[in-house]
């Protein structure tokens, strides 16, 4: 073969491929001193990018708890898998598409949804629910509206067409995302427990099959783009954005499901970021195999494509499959029925090398294991974060509660997200038992009386103020949301969005947040089964708020034991459970930010033992059938939660027995708390039993009327509804 590179690699090439000088030295070592050619350099750059290699985060990710008796497959595969009983498994993962969505919001977000769907159905699961966790800049920033409009319609455009309901998510606004929005998409799928497909290739000689869409010049170098900071010139990187084709994705799902029902597949993987390179490389690497591909056989959309372009293309809606011997024709028929491209592009070898041929010539010959082994892993220096002082309630302005409540209900971070979710088909598949707007989304397991509960959460302002507590809080909030509908939280996926890890203070955020997440997972018996890391979320040196988004999944064994947050009936007693003392934590609260215009202080600490005790108790109460409504307390504290319950049930409430000072009691964001309602006649017994179980409880009022009443004052629900429902549509009305 001819190893002589057609073109010598220049320092400029090394730089544009995102490799450091040290990394390039390693490249030469792996190659035994030989210089790579451009195809090979491209492959190194992709495989060693932050996106594919996790080189800055790996050391810390390894510390996360990933095991439990119900975990079938933890991190490392395309998605994580848990056992949910009755022979079924739930498969899920969350992934970011931040940079592409900033450059082209519609297509960036759409292809983000497409990518995460493929990660899930490649394992044999039919996707049953999508979620989306979004962070945008200041609503007043000139770009924000355009980005919100584009991202939301892109997520809808893709998910609606594919026919998977988008059942929930979250939206935050903060100036730190002005130049760097976050678009994190999560998919949950269902599979037969004994029919899960993995990606490790096996069997020398087995055919390597390419299915789906043709390869074009889309997104070449997207993976390296996702691993570098933005600067003023980022707009020039535009041509790398891919266009999604949800119609083809829908066909691809159906075709793959049909093939999976046969016994033809040895292993399978989607072509995600860095397409053909990472899929073929990872499959071979995991199985300890070699692979030889004929680049001429790759279905191509454009003329004159080079192997370099084909290997680095990020064209969407493509999968790589290793078939069992002799199954080519069976598989070909299925893909042709669905009018998708199908091509045998190579075979597995036992050489342990990745060999690419083009017009009969070898254009790449890399040793797979050494390349993977030498993949950089950094122990980047990090700085412990500075602890913020605790903010005393007496030092915070005590604004009349009615004014504060009105401000909060209509503020960008609390206002109803109806404008968003109405653009998503959240009902297709006819199993959405709890639609968006509640605590966790509840999606029935088709044909049964069981359901999955799903929630995504993160409070970035807490994480910024204290990454460790913030990491714990993000996990705890999903756990609480899942608990609040009556489900048993089982496992999480995470999407760690941070700035530049080469800055020690950012690396410190990463390290501490991961420690917090890990501690919470251990305490709540709630392992991490999949995840994704997105670093370098900075613009002109300014980082985003650290945003480790968590997606949690739980199980409702009996849908008849589910509850919702809406107030149900006049006269029912309102109980506050889990309030440890009467302090009322205002540091980093929305009250402080939205009403007093201050972002400061330590965030509310999460007492994990307390969290667990209260949550387990509340879940038991829900299952006992005594609870008529349940809602966890989060952003905006007690008063915002009560208002949400009132608006959902279109019933007001009369409050009493609220501690002083009022602003701290009503708007403090202490963790580990729930509001429940019970029939008036059950109130005393429930309170006593709760206290006897060691869970703090008190009655704070009763459901009734058409307003929120407190201390001789009241606010009409209709006024609150206008504020809550009004902000988003009014804001977006002037969007272009």
């Amino acid at each position: 073969m001819n190893h002589a590179p057609a073109k010598r690699i220049t320092p400029e090439d090394i730089k544009t491929h995102g490799l450091s000088d040290d990394e390039y030295k390693k490249v030469l070592e792996v190659l035994g001193g030989r210089e790579p050619n451009m195809v090979e350099l491209g492959i190194f750059s992709v495989m060693w990018s932050e996106h594919c290699s996790y080189k800055s985060s790996k050391k810390w990710l390894k510390t996360l708890p990933t095991k439990a008796s119900w975990v079938i497959c933890g991190p490392g595969e395309n998605a994580g898998v848990i056992d949910i009983g009755e022979g079924l498994a739930a498969i899920f993962k969350m992934e970011s598409h931040n940079h592409p969505s900033f450059i082209e919001p519609y297509q960036g977000a759409a292809t983000g949804v497409g990518g995460i769907l493929r990660d899930v159905f490649t394992m044999g699961a039919r996707p049953i629910a999508n979620m989306n966790a979004l962070r945008f800049g200041d609503p007043k920033h000139p770009k924000t509206k355009h980005l919100v409009a584009g991202v939301v319609s892109g997520i809808g455009g893709y998910g609606n067409c594919v026919g998977v309901p988008t059942v929930g998510g979250e939206v935050n606004f903060h100036p730190s995302y002005n130049g760097n929005i976050l678009v994190n998409a999560m998919t949950v799928g269902l599979a037969q427990k004994d029919k899960i497909f993995y990606s490790a290739a096996a069997g020398a000689g087995n055919p390597v099959v390419y299915v789906g869409s043709k390869t074009g010049r889309d997104g070449i170098h997207g993976a390296t783009m996702a691993s570098t900071e933005f600067d003023a010139n980022s707009e020039d990187k535009r041509p790398t954005v891919q266009v999604g084709d949800p119609f083809t994705e829908k066909l691809l799902i159906e075709a793959c499901m049909e093939l999976m029902a046969t016994d033809a597949i040895q292993s399978i993987q989607d072509m995600g970021a860095a397409g053909l390179t990472s899929s073929s490389f990872e499959m071979a690497s995991k199985g300890g195999m070699g692979v030889e591909l004929n680049m001429n056989a790759v279905p191509q959309r454009e003329e004159g494509m080079t192997p370099y372009e084909m290997m680095l293309s990020e064209s969407q809606e493509r999968m790589l499959i290793i078939l069992k011997p002799g199954k080519e024709e069976l598989a070909r028929k299925i893909f042709e029925k669905w009018e998708l491209d199908f091509a045998v592009i190579g075979h597995l070898t036992d050489t342990g090398r990745m060999v690419l041929k083009f017009h009969g010539e070898t254009v790449c010959d890399l040793p797979i294991d050494p390349l993977a082994q030498a993949s950089p892993e950094y122990d980047r220096p990090w700085l412990a974060s500075t602890k913020q002082p605790v903010v005393a309630a007496k030092d915070v302005k005590n604004v009349p509660w009615r004014d504060a409540l009105k401000t909060l209900m209509g503020c960008p971070d609390v206002a109803s997200r109806r404008w968003v979710w109405e653009q998503y088909d959240h009902m297709v598949m006819m199993d959405t038992v709890q639609r968006p707007g509640g605590d966790a989304a509840v999606v029935r397991i088709h044909g049964s009386n069981r359901a999955l509960a799903i929630s995504t959460d993160c409070t970035p302002r807490y994480v910024k103020a204290n990454p460790f507590e913030g990491g714990k809080q993000a996990v705890a909030e999903t756990w609480r949301n899942i608990t609040a509908v009556g489900a048993r939280p089982l496992a999480i996926t995470d999407n760690l969005n941070f700035g530049n890890p080469q800055k020690p203070e950012i690396m410190g955020q990463i390290v501490e947040a991961i420690q917090g997440i890990g501690d919470a997972c251990v305490a709540l018996d709630y392992p991490v089964i999949s995840g994704n890391v997105s670093l370098y979320n900075e613009t002109d040196g300014k980082p985003i708020l650290p945003t480790p988004a968590i997606g949690g999944v739980g199980l409702l064994d009996n849908l008849d034991q589910m509850t919702t947050l809406a107030f149900k009936a006049e006269g029912e007693a309102i109980l506050l459970l889990g309030q440890k003392d009467d302090a009322g934590w205002l540091g980093q609260s929305l009250y402080l930010r939205e009403v007093c215009f201050e972002e400061k202080g330590a965030p509310p600490p999460v007492d994990l033992a307390h969290e667990r005790k209260v949550g387990d108790y509340v879940r038991g109460l829900i299952h006992s059938g005594k609870i008529t409504a349940c809602h966890d307390l989060s952003d905006g504290g007690l008063m915002v939660a009560l208002t949400e319950m009132a608006l959902a049930g279109n019933l007001g409430c009369r409050l009493e027995n609220i501690a002083a000072p009022l602003h701290a009691a009503l708007f403090g964001e202490d963790q580990g708390r729930y509001i429940v309602t019970v029939k008036a006649a059950d109130a005393v017994a429930t309170l006593e039993a709760t206290k006897a179980a060691g869970v703090p409880a008190k009655q704070i009022g009763a459901v009734g009327g058409s307003a929120i009443f407190l201390g001789g004052e009241s606010v009409e629900l209709e006024a609150l509804r206008k504020l809550h429902e009004g902000w988003f549509p009014a804001y977006m009305a002037t969007a272009t």
């Binding site: 319609s153 809808g156 455009g157 609606n160 067409c161 594919v162 026919g163 084709d245 949800p246 119609f247 083809t248 829908k250 066909l251 669905w338 009018e339 979710w421 109405e422 653009q423 998503y424 088909d425 959240h426 009902m427 297709v428 598949m429 006819m430 199993d431 959405t432 038992v433 639609r435 029935r444 849908l559």
Partner: protein, 230 residues
């Protein structure tokens, strides 16, 4: 009653409507892949389901309307077989000329998924026999192109012949502009053909035919079909 659901590439409510039908019929419906043109001869009902046939590219429903299977559906429909066309199905049958009018982009330009209220305007068809004129139903929509448009003459004919099956209305049954989710002319949500054997509607009756999903107003449509066509 024997029912079948057509499946186009990109259909995605095919299973949903089959589930709703089976609840009422008590036996499985046949799924017909768009390329299988020999439709069983003893069918009483064909459903053209919702979704994004052919990706909704070009115009919603256009490519499906011109597929071979639709020629057969049209032939059967002309002979009186019932056709229920929901959402994308409605777009397909209008493109195919089985029903008049077109479904244009929503006036708000956005996809809208939510419950809406429908006033029943007809109870004289196999689809609507279990409703009373004036009933207000809560049924979900999920579409970006549901804005019903027809020329004045067509609208007049539809009205004169009582072929408007449903109109978008308020919870109290008033036909107002605010209750119109997509800009449809005269708040039209569903129309019948002259023989009242083909119903096209944008809202999804199958999506609220199960108590667990929060409502059952759609169920009477499937029950009416079973009773009428039994």
């Amino acid at each position: 009653m024997r029912a079948a659901v057509i499946v186009f590439p990109g259909s995605n409510c095919d299973r949903d409507i089959a589930v709703a039908l089976e609840q009422s019929i008590g036996k499985p419906t046949t799924m017909i892949w768009h390329q299988d043109t020999d439709i069983p001869s003893d069918l009483d009902l064909i459903v053209v389901p919702g979704g994004f046939s052919y990706g909704d590219y070009l115009r919603c429903g256009a490519m499906a309307a011109h597929s071979p299977v639709m020629r057969e559906v049209k032939r059967r429909a002309e002979k009186g077989m019932r056709v229920l066309a929901v959402c994308n199905g409605f777009q397909i049958v209008t493109e195919a000329g089985l029903l008049p009018g077109v479904l244009m982009r929503n006036r708000g330009l956005k996809y809208v998924c939510k419950d809406v209220h429908l006033r029943v305007e007809d109870s004289q068809s196999a689809f609507t026999a279990k409703y009373k004129v004036g009933d207000v139903l809560r049924i979900p929509i999920g579409h970006a192109e549901g804005n019903y448009f027809a020329d004045e003459a067509t609208l007049k004919q539809l009205e004169d012949e009582g072929r408007v099956a449903f109109r978008y209305c308020t919870t109290k049954g008033e036909i107002t502009d605010d209750a119109n989710p997509n800009g449809s002319q005269r708040n039209i949500a569903g129309v019948l053909n002259k023989a009242r054997t083909v119903l096209g509607m944008m809202p999804h009756p199958e999506r609220l035919a199960d108590k667990k999903l929060g409502g059952t107003d759609g169920r009477a449509m499937f029950e009416a079909l079973v009773e009428t066509l039994a």
